[in-house]
């Protein structure tokens, strides 16, 4: 689900999700090409831009989801409902407060973060209101162990690559030493081995260190270890319910 277009604004995301929910209210599972009445839309600010960017098509009074619009709406709805689940189930917020908070940060979630939440919650099928949560890659592959987006180096397997997210130390001399070797935010790294000591390759440099240092270097693993997911199965959702 990668789009090279400019990221959507909050209004645009709200507009897409409104369309999605209006379709759902007709007791239908939204599909590409489904449409709703333009005059009934509450969120209209982003519609013009969405049409120009080819997320929507307006035909008369009908607003129709294009493929891109469908995918975006689906992604956003998924984030929103996962957020509600997280806030109400895990953080035990009252429904109303959960909704309010979810409203704020559902816009900030990216797909990877949403997957992590989904795995954490055990791939929930519905939101607290009983609405369906569109399935993600992780639900299809049935992943059960949560792997956060940013992990200490000690969580990486030997041979894995990634980029440095941040260095979690307050020791300035160590920070300076590491950054002089190129171990700093945003740099690609390769973990050569973990035993008997860690060996890390950055640019032309090779650095060796022990467990305690490995827990201070936080990285974004580049290939997350998941079985490959076929495109066709990706959008099956709500099955067996």
């Amino acid at each position: 689900m990668e789009y090279k277009k400019t990221p959507l604004t909050e209004e645009q995301e709200e507009a897409l999700s409104e369309i999605w929910m209006r379709i759902e209210n007709r007791a239908e599972v939204p599909q590409v090409g489904d449409s709703v009445s333009l005059t009934k839309m509450r969120h209209r600010e982003g519609l013009g831009e969405l049409t120009r960017e080819d997320y929507l098509k307006v035909e008369g009074d009908e607003v129709k989801l294009t493929e891109a619009g469908y995918a975006e709406a689906r992604r956003f709805i998924r984030n929103q409902r996962l957020s509600e689940r997280l806030l109400s189930d895990v953080l035990n917020l009252e429904m109303e407060e959960a909704e309010r908070t979810a409203c704020r940060y559902e816009h900030m979630l990216d797909t990877d973060a949403a997957e992590s939440i989904c795995i954490l919650l055990g791939h929930p099928r519905t939101c607290p209101h009983g609405k369906l949560i569109p399935a993600g890659e992780c639900c299809v592959s049935g992943e059960t162990s949560l792997r956060p987006l940013v992990v200490p180096l000690s969580e990486l397997e030997a041979g894995e690559t990634g980029t440095v997210a941040y260095i979690g130390t307050t020791d300035n001399a160590r920070l300076a030493f590491l950054s002089s070797l190129g171990v700093m935010t945003g740099r690609p790294i390769e973990l050569i081995q973990k035993k008997p000591s860690y060996i890390l390759k950055v640019d032309e440099n090779t650095v060796a260190f022990d467990d305690s240092v490995s827990r201070e270097i936080f990285v974004r693993p580049s290939q997350r270890k998941r079985p490959p997911v076929k495109m066709k199965s990706r959008f099956r959702w709500g099955q067996g319910r």
């Binding site: 260095i167 001399a173 002089s180 700093m184």
Partner: protein
Amino acid sequence: MVQGPDLVLTDGRESSEAGKLLLVGQPNIGKSVIFSILTGRYVVVSNYPGTTVEVLSGKATELDLYVIDTPGIGSIIPRSEDEMVTLRTILSDEEKSILQVGDAKNLRRTLMLTLPLAETGFPLVLDLNMADEAEKSGYRIDTAALSAGLGIPVVLTVATEKRGKEDLLDAIRHSSRSSLQITYDPRIENAIDRIVSELPRSAASRRFLALTLLAGTSNLVDEFLKKDDRGKKRAIREIISQTQSQFGDPLSQVIMETRAAHVDRMIKKSVTRREERRLAVKSLWTLERLSTHPLWGFVVLAVILFGLYQFVGVFAAGYLVDFVQEVLFKGILLPPVVRLLSHIPEEHVRNFFIGEYGQITMGLTYALAIVFPIVTAFFLAFSLLEDSGYLPRLAVMLNRTFTVMGLNGRAVIPIVLGLGCGTMATLVTRVLETRRERIIATLLLALGIPCSAQLGVILGIFSRIGGGSIFLFMAFISLQLLIVGYLASKVLPGGPSFFLTELPPFRMPRLDNILSKTYFRTKWFIREAIPYFLLGTAFLFFADVTGLLKWLMEIFSPVVVGFFDLPRKSSQAFILGFLRRDYGAAGLFDLFDQGLMDGLQAFVGISVMTLFVPCIANVFIIFKERGYRVALLLVSFVFAYAIMAGTVLNFFLRLLNIHF
């Protein structure tokens, strides 16, 4: 002693008229080679960080400058004592220019140091060394663009082949203050201004000092300001913590990131990479991976140790010593000399030279016929290991074991250097980060790390004793090190420290460097050791004549005979061991050779000698580096422990009826 010539420091000829040129750079990039090119002085060059731990100086032959070589620094913020030495030298209150030696193929890292050096305000030249390696890995560096970006001369060199020397000399003559001005985050800039107003005048720019304080550790405040400036120190600390509170990340990270962004821009303008190429030969790279592999790494280590044993123990201590001692000395050289000197009428004078404790028959024979061939072989093998880049990999393998002793992998280098020379190794403990680690490392070096000369003799004896005795010996000594290190780590205050080091690439050792290194070290050995051998022999001679020796043996014999079950005569070896352990070991070697000791006795004797107090030179350095209180404690502990461990060893060997 492995790095003997380093001990010959500043030669006091410094004149104040000639300007100073400081060599600064990251470790293991060839500063020392550049230093010897500029000054014509030989310095030991190796393939691991920490070869230079003291400031060296010499007159540049083709420039009117005094060149000062400094210990390599990872970054401008010091992590250990040797790095602190470099920062102090940079900040010293005199005008100077700086020559930064950097790794051409690792420009990002090099420039991360260039930027703060440019900020010091001293005239600066950037020498990108190892240009051949950079070229081989596909980099093309546009020095003109880089020079324009930094506002200083930039040259490419291949120091080991003296390529680019003329360019370098030319650049040094035209060194200039960098015109580069980096602007940091406004909050950092604000803090810099406020700190600058608190700092006294200094040769280095105050902006640089302020930045170093902001990015550095709090002890730097004490370093930069006079003792009595309490108010200003407090003010500066206040500014730093105020500034820190405005950022989520540590200040050093904020500053480094600004520099890194700047460096990246410069690299984009001046470097192209034709193709990604792996520098090292494929087999070398495979070996690199194998050498740190959790399983194969130990196989590699075992192969290396076996090779060392074969070459030094079996070949040098066996065949070579036999040849030199029996054929060359006893067969050809000694007879005419002895015949000549036997004409000396006075008995004591005659015996002084050719008697039982004769300068020639004992002192020179021990030094030249027994120790010298062994040591030369060891130096040769050790130089090969050093130049290959294997030693830091050993640190990776042994880190966990070292944590048991309150040390970490970083201490592997000083400890392994101790196999060369304990004296030099004690100096190199400066690369360790905490005082606790330095004390433990010094203790272990003094206790159980035999120096090259002694090790050679030991290998020689064990190859003659045979029967796997060498393995038992290694196990016994390792066990003692583990026990003492473990106890010391429990007794000394402070917690465990972390292991973090860089690994230099494996390099194909250069024959000329190995040979010249071996040559200089052997020469150094002869100059340093032979006087002690002669002095020790002279002492024994006079002690024998005056009856002191008898008396000393009387004192020692309860221990030597009673505890260790060794012949009375062996106490003289232990007395010699006070002066130099290799001399002591050579004494035991001789006794064993003459059949005065059996294998078991030789085993116990050598084990005790290994644990015994280090040689006089090492004791001096321990006092100098650790202070007399710690030193006194260390030396007397080692003495007592050696006797105790030797007694226990002897008891158990006899109890279990182990014979060789």
